[in-house]
Symmetry: C2
């Protein structure tokens, strides 16, 4: 059983990788037919029909860098690295969450791709190797160092994050991070570190955050999550005991929830033991998958 389509996956764009390395083809795509994704800062602009807003390249700032998102219906789609964004940090906000609920799945995925790339360009202006300025290359899928001795190539980051269901005698371990909305609980999660497999990262994170040893880690599904550049890797595991030792620097609280408690919260109820993770998050789909098994 799989977890089905999740928010931010399933963009309808053809990424047309072969065009990125072809400067002539890229230049040819940048004409009056090309579409420019409308962004307000890093947030999407929703048109009156509830779709992503698009303009033309004429709408871009003169000194803006353009990222090639891909082709759709024969048209090239771009997003602008607006000079106003440079060096800034733009966290998710309520307006963004509203847009995330409104947008149809393929559009949300297109937006997520654009957001992750534009944000990366805005925060990566210099060469990490030598400190000199970098410039956009390969349609925005690379930045290149302008120092001709260095010439380092830099690529957009994708940070793998494990997010895991932990089960023990029919109950599920969920936790809350300090920044969560009140009473929200979700699956534990953490970045995969250099030198560990996905399965080892799951084992380490659950041990660190909740003091629990897990076994039989299995993969369930994945989701791109552009805040700013995560690849969420959803897993399931079994705890060897129910005893918890919660790391309060990571989690405000963690506890075991019965199947009934989980089903009640996932039904949308806000008066149960906890409030479920929102449908855009892979945690929601992992929990739904668990209930359906």
């Amino acid at each position: 059983m799989t977890i089905g389509t999740i928010a931010f996956a399933g963009a309808g764009l053809d990424r047309a990788d072969h065009l990125r390395s072809d400067p002539e083809a890229m230049a040819g795509l940048m004409d009056w037919r090309a579409r420019l994704l409308k962004l307000d800062g890093l947030d999407p602009v929703i048109d009156p029909d509830g779709n992503l807003g698009w303009g033309t390249l004429a709408d871009a700032a003169e000194d803006a860098e353009l990222v090639f998102l891909g082709l759709t219906g024969g048209k090239a789609c771009f997003a602008e690295v607006s000079p106003a964004l440079l060096g800034s940090v733009a966290p998710a906000n309520p307006r963004l969450w509203a847009a995330m609920s409104a947008l149809e799945s393929a559009e949300l995925a297109t937006y997520g791709t654009a957001r992750a790339l534009v944000d990366w360009h805005a925060r990566h202006r210099y060469c990490a190797r030598c400190g000199n300025p970098t410039v956009l290359a390969k349609g925005g899928w690379q930045r290149s160092c302008t120092n001709q001795v260095c010439k380092a190539e830099h690529f957009p980051r994708v940070d793998p994050v494990t997010i895991m269901l932990v089960e023990h005698e029919g109950r599920l371990l969920l936790g809350r991070q300090p920044h969560f909305p009140p009473r929200r609980f979700s699956a534990l999660a953490g970045f995969v570190e250099p030198g560990e497999s996905i399965e080892e990262a799951v084992e380490r994170e659950v041990k660190e955050e909740a003091g629990v040893t897990v076994r039989d880690v299995t993969y369930v599904g994945s989701q791109p999550w552009p805040f700013p550049s995560s690849l969420m890797i959803g897993c399931h595991s079994h705890a060897t005991s129910a005893e918890l030792e919660v790391d309060k620097t990571e989690l405000e609280e963690a506890d075991w929830f019965t199947r009934d408690e989980v089903a009640y919260a996932m039904g949308g109820a806000e008066d149960g033991r906890f409030i479920a993770p929102p449908p855009q998050a892979i945690a929601h789909h992992l929990v739904k998958w668990w209930l359906a098994r």
Copy 2:
């Protein structure tokens, strides 16, 4: 069925994450009892017993940065970011492959963690946001910008890469990259990009590299691969047709191989249709898993 233990996974070290953020604890660990991993450039130094060579912190260059790898048997283990490495690029080499065959599994994993981290520090000396110098922080699991207006925090990269078996009517699709040893074929692979799930990355890569449409992508297993910082995510998929259109900029050749041809090569034979991927690579384990099913 899982694919079992793979090279570079399964380090015996306790990463002791809680100590990294505690400068006092970190300083306390850096005494005469601490162990320093011996490295020759980025290659391991093997002692006469065939184990990883270790020294003490007294062996480190005076101006070296030290990366905290974790604890083992009550001892803190470090690796040195030698000033000689800064800005350099060190590809895998024959001496390294020999060491990889010699080292026992947990030691290889410890080395892989050290290599990925040390290499990252050596190639990330400046702040990508503002161009100012950065300094090692949190025991080497972070670098911090020294510009007090910027103060950006940077974390070691882990780049997710999909590597996939593609099957059609009992035959397996394998390809060879131009830099492979003669007659070696392996599973197709490619980086996961911003805005796509693992499953979508598999579909896109196989389409781009071999012109083949796949369905039913499933996860098989994962492996950290420190050349320089990949997380290999092994998958299986079914092709909807056997017709190939190979992208010659990515692959020198790709073709379908029968179960018998694959089994013969995996037995170590070098006189079959192709030479199998080496046992250190996850591709080897994926193919072994496929044969055993």
